[in-house]
């Protein structure tokens, strides 16, 4: 899986390079719009992560030129501008998804994953982590064969964690995907924390190993160990 990252900010570029490489992606870095454009022409990529504010040729331009050649490569835009208008400009120019800085890296990974498996459906109804089993169609959860009594929200939360099994999920991702909350200023962090605490009580209190882990400052992960 070859990913082209076009980002001028050195630290961010290096972090993206490191993080994506650790996830098994083959990353190529471009520091300017021109360089990115040149690289796109010279080698095949499966995905582009594009910063909108670039020196020289700006991201929207790169994207528009790319799209005018009708290249079907999925593009994830990353930018510090987050007004609705900016979003619309980006998506109009042909971006497939949009991520606002500062973003949680877990979120970037999730988006990259979603874009790279686009078209392929990957939603098995029965999921399993250790001895925790989630039946999405029957909305039933068992741990070690014992049925857990979850509220609707707790179930959705658990299902989301289990679907992202082994990967850290940030609070923003939960707010957006589980609570369907788009406003960034909505104070949901406490709500999420309380739900996680309750879910953890039901899932982990009377069983070993503990499955729900908090990664401090990042989010939550489900699995037999935190990393």
């Amino acid at each position: 899986m070859r990913v082209l990252v076009i980002e001028d900010e050195a630290k961010v570029a290096r972090a993206l390079d490191d993080g994506l490489s650790r996830e098994g992606y083959e990353v190529t870095l471009a520091r300017t719009g021109e360089e990115g454009y040149y690289l796109l022409d010279s080698a095949p990529f499966d995905l582009v992560v594009l910063d909108l504010m670039l020196p020289g040729r700006d991201g929207v331009e790169v994207l528009a030129t790319m799209r005018s050649r009708d290249r079907g490569i999925p593009v994830l835009i990353v930018t510090a501008r987050d007004s609705v208008e900016d979003r619309v400009i980006g998506l109009d120019a042909g971006a497939d998804d949009y991520l606002v800085k500062p973003f949680a890296f877990a979120e970037l990974l999730a988006r990259v994953r979603a874009l790279s498996r686009r078209g392929r459906s990957e939603a098995p109804a029965r999921l399993k982590v250790s001895d925790l089993e989630v039946d999405a169609s029957a909305r039933r959860v068992t741990r070690g064969g014992r049925t857990l009594d979850l509220t609707a929200r707790e179930f959705e939360l658990l299902e989301y964690l289990v679907r992202n099994h082994g990967r850290v999920v940030s609070r923003e991702m939960l707010a957006r995907d589980v609570w369907k909350e788009t406003g960034r200023a909505t104070p949901l962090d406490n709500v999420i924390d309380v739900h996680i605490a309750r879910l953890r009580r039901k899932v982990d209190d009377s069983a070993e190993p503990k499955l729900i882990h908090t990664v401090r400052g990042v989010g939550f992960v489900i699995g037999e160990s935190a990393s």
Partner: protein, 486 residues
């Protein structure tokens, strides 16, 4: 290209002079006309007198000649007169005429008292009266003339006087007008030069108001008032900037301290992990803060509302349900009651944000085991009201108007974890004002507070036709006029 003087003063003066000249011209012209008519009338009356005087003294000799009785004796210079017989013969010519001739009358039977102009051979202009008369039983026609020279002389003097006097008068009036205009405009110039020198540092200065009741006084007062408003917003902005940098600095300090301390000694991976996690928590706080500030700054420049008819009780229940778990954790009860028929045209997402912030606030400040009441109803004026009451410590009178200010916290000692950044209520107020509504606070110290969101009655149908979109700026403007806060 039109020629247009640059200064108001010059324009005023020019207008003044032009109007004055026009008025004077009309006045002088009508006066001259009147004088001319009246002078001629006087002359003609004199002429008739002369005729009577002469006719009385004319005598007819036996030989048909006519003479003037007593002319030689009293040194009378005599008239300019001729007497003609009906046959067209000259029977008398006064000596004063000398060699000049009045001439035979055009008709021997002239209408009585006809007067016409005539110029003598030597160029003297005359008014001449021609009238039939009877002397000693004989019909004659008498012609008597008076010179117009004196009248013409007077006329010329008058015109000369006007020709010199009028421009002088207009010139003087022009200078006086210019002086007056300058005097009247001086306060304006003072205002302008004051405004030119205006910077953030001398916003406190005010213009002197000489007479508060005249137009310039009014202008000066208006100017001073707007200065006061600008000064107040500046002060608010300064406070906001100071508070914002404080709020931003606090997590930055924490990040720096945690990072530096972690690097002091060689530690194990878990220790570093913990330090990085702690730093990321602060980063999260920073991101939230910046996010909220962005919401507010965008609110200041105006946001497009996507209004749609919304049941307010449903929206309130939805917002309360989202936060219910927080209340539950504190053993609190949230009770939402009200009239399900209360509807309003609102941007669901934005109004919901306001409600969430208000409810979050109520949960935060109510004690464990307390209850939070939310009431949705329509007030007697047809406005929609959503009332959020908590059982918190209440807001002291002195703080009540300030709780909506950005970063304002009633209890300064309250930690950020408990109290948040102090932007929630600002955002709530903005969201409600964007809808043309207001938030009222009533509170009793020690006995809870009530935040009352009041929205205008459902928009009448005609405004719906304008489209559902409306800029937040317009909304804010309206909010300001009805808002009771600030």
């Amino acid at each position: 290209m039109r020629l247009r003087p640059r200064h108001v003063r010059t324009r005023l003066t020019l207008w003044y002079v032009a109007v004055l000249s026009a008025v004077l011209a009309v006045y002088i012209a009508s006066t001259l006309l009147f004088m001319r008519v009246s002078l001629h009338r006087q002359l003609d009356e004199g002429l008739r007198g002369e005729f009577g005087h002469l006719a009385d003294r004319l005598t007819s000799g036996r030989d048909g000649t006519v003479s003037v009785a007593g002319q030689a004796e009293n040194g009378d210079p005599g008239s300019l007169a001729e007497v003609w017989s009906p046959g067209g013969e000259l029977v008398y010519r006064s000596p004063r005429l000398g060699s000049q001739v009045l001439g035979r009358p055009a008709s021997m039977t002239p209408a009585s008292g006809s007067i016409n102009n005539l110029t003598l051979g030597n160029g003297t202009p005359l008014r001449v009266l021609t009238q039939p008369h009877v002397i000693g039983g004989r019909d004659v026609v008498i012609r008597v003339g008076v010179s117009e020279e004196y009248l013409h002389h007077q006329w010329r003097e008058l015109l000369t006087g006007i020709a010199f006097g009028l421009p002088a008068a207009i010139l003087i009036a022009g200078f006086a007008g210019d002086w007056l205009a300058r005097r009247a405009l001086r306060p304006l110039e003072r205002m302008a030069s004051h405004a030119e020198k205006l910077t953030a540092d001398n916003l406190g200065e005010r213009l002197p108001v000489e007479n508060p009741d005249d137009e310039l006084g009014h202008l000066a007062r208006a100017y001073n008032l707007s200065l006061a408003r600008i000064e107040a917003s500046f002060a608010q902005l300064r406070r906001f900037t100071a508070d914002a940098s404080h709020e931003l600095r606090t997590p930055l300090t924490a990040i720096r301290a945690v990072g530096e301390v972690a690097l002091q000694d060689r530690r194990d991976a878990d220790h570093y992990r913990d330090a990085i996690g702690s730093m990321l928590e602060e980063v999260d706080r920073l991101s939230h803060l910046v996010g909220s500030l962005l919401v507010l700054s965008r609110a200041d420049t105006g946001v497009a509302l996507r209004r749609q008819g919304t049941g307010l009780l449903d929206l309130t229940r939805e917002s309360a349900a989202l936060l219910e778990i927080l209340a539950d954790e504190k053993g609190q009860r949230i009770e939402v009651r009200g009239d399900p028929s209360v509807r309003a045209d609102v941007d669901r997402l934005i109004l919901r944000q306001a409600l969430i912030n208000l409810i979050d606030n109520a949960i935060k400040y109510s004690p464990r085991g307390g209850s939070i009441g939310i009431d949705v109803r329509r007030d007697p004026d047809g406005r929609s009201v959503i009332e959020v009451s908590d059982e918190g410590p209440g807001i002291p009178e002195t703080h009540r108007s300030q709780v909506f200010e950005r970063f304002y916290r009633v209890d300064k000692a309250r930690s950020r974890d408990e109290g948040g950044a102090g932007l929630g209520l600002s955002i709530a107020l903005w969201a409600v004002k964007a809808h043309g509504g207001e938030i009222e606070v009533s509170s009793e110290e020690g006995n809870g507070s009530t935040f009352r969101v009041v929205l205008a009655a459902e928009t009448p149908p005609d405004s719906e036709a304008r489209g559902a979109r409306e800029t937040g700026e317009a909304g804010l403007e309206r909010g300001r006029t009805v808002g009771k806060i600030r």
